[in-house]
């Protein structure tokens, strides 16, 4: 008896009942609460009383909910007659207004949550991500010094455009086919970078499952 502590078990049982009431599986009015209170009564002792305060609180909350349900049921019985009886007492406008006190509800309307807005937001988000890649061209400084890396003769955009013109006749084609005739690894790497930029700009599209490039 000293070590018997059912508080955890009772708490879990009450939580389960609450969930079942919420999901509509059981009706609180048809549920017997006596077994829960009996269990608390018969297993509580001076050794476990601290743990039982929460169980007792949960059980009383459940009992309170049951009373509320009963109150609602009783009040909705013969309601037409109750309204009529009330009006027969000839209440003035303020008394009627007072009857409604605390009964008004404010609905939550949130138009920006509309499906249209979510689609628009999603679409715009994607577009903003894919179009913000400005290409800045380098300006050759007038100097006689020699550098290992020289500014290329053509601008980057011109190089991409030339590459695009070269491969667009091949499209649609497999990814590897774009570099078909190229043997120089440096050239392949350079063209791969152009290809990435064209994909980012949306001029070329790639379908992963078929490994295909297309416009």
């Amino acid at each position: 008896m000293e070590e018997l502590d059912l508080s955890e078990k009772i708490n879990k049982r009450i939580a389960l009942i609450k969930n079942e009431v919420l999901s509509g599986k059981i009706n609180l009015l048809e549920l017997q609460l006596n077994p829960i209170f009996s269990e608390i009564k018969h297993s509580i002792s001076i050794y476990n009383i601290e743990n039982y305060s929460q169980s007792y609180r949960n059980a009383v909350e459940l009992l309170n909910d049951k009373f509320e349900e009963l109150k609602n049921l009783l009040s909705s019985l013969d309601i037409e007659k109750k309204f009529e009886d009330f009006l027969k007492t000839h209440p003035n406008e303020d008394q009627i207004s007072d009857l409604f006190r605390g009964c008004w509800r404010e609905t939550f309307l949130f138009e920006p949550f509309s499906l249209k807005f979510l689609e628009y937001a999603s679409d715009r988000y994607i577009k903003e991500r894919t179009t913000n890649f400005p290409i800045e061209h380098l300006i050759r400084e007038e100097t006689n010094d020699q550098f290992l890396l020289e500014v290329p003769r053509y601008k980057y955009t011109e190089k991409i455009s030339a590459f695009y013109d070269k491969i667009k006749k091949k499209l649609p084609c497999f990814f590897e086919d774009v570099f078909d005739n190229e043997l120089d690894q440096i050239e392949i790497y350079e063209q791969f970078v152009y290809l990435l930029h064209l994909l980012q700009l949306g001029k070329i599209k790639y379908q992963k499952d078929t490994n295909t490039l297309y416009t």
Partner: protein, 171 residues
């Protein structure tokens, strides 16, 4: 986009002046739920969403007049933001109560004449017109028949009203 965002959209949308939210059927169709346990799934979904909404002062509710699920602010917040649409216009509350009483008695229909008698007032037309404009009732101009719209099920906690009425009569 996931179930929660679709559910939020469906429960917080205004279809018309007196239709807010969505029916269970509409929600299940939007989420493409077709399995056998769809009712249990539906309840779990609503219970799950309500747990997220509770700390925000929101709750999911059911309008039994048109079987629509919708979201409203909890009673404390509603009190704070003054949800009473007839604040400072007690005449409209009184007329609405008479319409409600008469509709409950006459299977959902009433007439201007009936309201006039219940209100014990010669002219209730102005109140009826305002209530119609605000979406609480439909008025048939030819027959002067009046019907309540589902809006009252959104704007009023009818259960609470019944309890208050029962307590008032006992006073």
């Amino acid at each position: 986009m996931n179930e929660i965002s679709i559910l939020m959209y469906m429960l917080s949308r205004k279809k018309s002046i007196n239709q807010i939210g969505a029916t269970k059927k509409e929600i299940l169709k939007s989420l493409n739920v077709k399995n056998k346990n769809k009712s249990v799934y539906f309840q779990d979904l609503l219970t799950g969403l309500s747990k997220y909404l509770e700390p925000l002062g929101l709750q999911i509710n059911f309008n039994s007049l048109n079987s629509h699920w919708f979201i409203n602010y909890d009673s404390e917040l509603a009190e704070l933001i003054s949800a009473n649409p007839f604040e400072g216009r007690p005449s409209l509350s009184a007329t609405l109560l008479c319409v409600l009483t008469s509709c409950l008695k006459n299977s959902g229909r009433t007439s201007i004449q009936e309201i006039r008698t219940l209100r014990n007032k010669k002219d209730v037309k102005d109140d009826i017109k305002i209530l119609e404009k605000e979406g609480f009732l439909d008025l048939d101009k030819k027959t002067t028949d009046i019907r309540l719209t589902p809006l009252i099920g959104y704007k009023l906690d009818l259960q609470k009203l019944f309890v208050r009425l029962a307590l008032k009569l006992k006073e």
